[in-house]
Amino acid sequence: MLTKRVIPCMDVKDGRVVKGVNFVNLRDAGDPIELAQRYDEQKADEVIFLDITATSDDRATTIELASRASEELHLPYCVGGGFRTVADMRRMIAAGADKVSVNSAAIANPELLTLAAAAFGTQAVVCAIDAKAVAGNPNKWEVYVAGGRKATGIDAVEWAVEAARRGAGEILLTSMDRDGSRDGFDCHLTRTIARAVDIPVIASGGVGSIEHFAEGVLEGEADAVLAASVFHFGELTVREVKEYMRAQGIPVRL
């Protein structure tokens, strides 16, 4: 039986791990590869490196990181942040990334997902969606871009369906309302999108306690759950989280 994944996410700036609290305050949490190896020992199912400096043209540091990761990590990893073109993604895949995640660029040019899927296979293409609840409508979420700063007017559920149709192999879904809040995933949002698409959905944004991981799967119907600071600062280990999830009846690899 396919297990539910637990994915530590590392925000990377200048080759170092940082965690943005509401995307603003950054704290240094160390070397991304060392951290990823620690998570591998704890039975993390994969890791995501999110390049938060990646709006600039110079991605050399991140490509170097992807290259080092392909040599030193023995688990799958995804790199995201700032891809504009298939050529950008190709450089990262060529460096060894198993998957690339695109966000703003896919909104600006949805064809990018189709082209990337044709070039690398759908399994290598993750569409990241930052969604925020629309005031006054409990069943509607709007897509935000530019690190959550810019509203697009696009409906998150419709966009997820289109992204899947165009070739995304997974949706990395972040609730802007919950991100950094420690209040738990937006399970309503996650479940709505998980039911709307036939590709895996990774729930992100809001984890503050061990219970939240199980809620993301049981209530959010997510295929994978992502967290950052609770892992980076040692509040919880991936192993503890998976043991808890297993106790709740969720299939996990331990």
Binding site: S70, E71, H74, L75, A95, D98, G121, D198, D223
Partner: protein, 216 residues
């Protein structure tokens, strides 16, 4: 020396490092002459069936890999590398007409059958997410490739297509259907649907077993 066959579709460092990490003498190469004299051959899984098969033919790799397998040289096909052991793949097929069979890309045809898309529904009509991405368990029949690995051990999968069930099946995994997660042709040519190089300790154990088979 174990040749890691480079058919120009992606990064093979993790496979090479995986083999080196367990004591293998691995070399990434696209040269048919190097592949022809290797003590072991690994065909990694990157890219798509039609594309990879075409490049292998262009570079003259298909002939030497088939020949190595026929000579009993230890072989390990990973993911797409396993798919390529079969006759044909649905991935990249061209539909020519309603009543005609689609034109399908040809594999190495070491094993019979067509590599087909995983169905979205199981027999009971339950929906499954495709691609099949993540860690799933394998049930295997004992053999040297599984030495030290427990029944039900988890490996990392990422694929939308699966090999046909044949007498070559030595391990199975279930998603929407039960499909072959490992195959064996003869004594020493193996194919695995999952990625041992991405499967942490269990994957390293399997790569070590393969390196031992090469050394034996």
């Amino acid at each position: 020396m174990i040749a890691v066959v480079d058919y120009h579709k992606g990064n093979l460092k993790s496979v090479e490092r995986g083999l080196v990490g367990v004591g293998g003498n691995a070399l990434i190469t696209d040269d048919p002459a190097v592949i022809a004299r290797a003590d072991g051959v690994v065909l990694p899984g990157v890219g798509a069936f039609a594309d990879a098969a075409a490049t292998m033919r262009e570079l003259g790799q298909d002939v030497v890999v088939r020949d190595a397998i026929a000579r009993g040289v230890p072989f390990l096909g990973i993911c797409l590398g396993m798919h390529l052991m079969f006759e044909e793949g649905e991935e990249g097929e061209v539909v020519t007409g309603e009543d005609e069979d689609p034109l399908r890309p040809q594999g190495l045809a070491v094993l019979p059958g067509v590599v087909a898309r995983l169905p979205r529904l199981d027999v009971a009509g339950n929906a499954y997410k495709i691609p099949h991405v993540g860690w799933n368990s394998i049930e295997f029949s004992e053999g040297p490739l599984f030495d030290g690995i427990s029944q039900g051990e988890f490996f990392y999968f990422t694929h939308s297509f699966a090999a046909p069930d044949t007498p070559a099946t030595i391990a199975t995994t279930t998603h929407s259907v039960t499909f072959p997660s490992a195959v064996c042709y003869g004594e020493r040519a193996f194919g695995v649907q999952f990625h041992p190089e991405k499967s942490s300790d269990a994957g390293a154990r399997m790569l070590r077993n393969f390196v031992r088979i090469v050394g034996a």
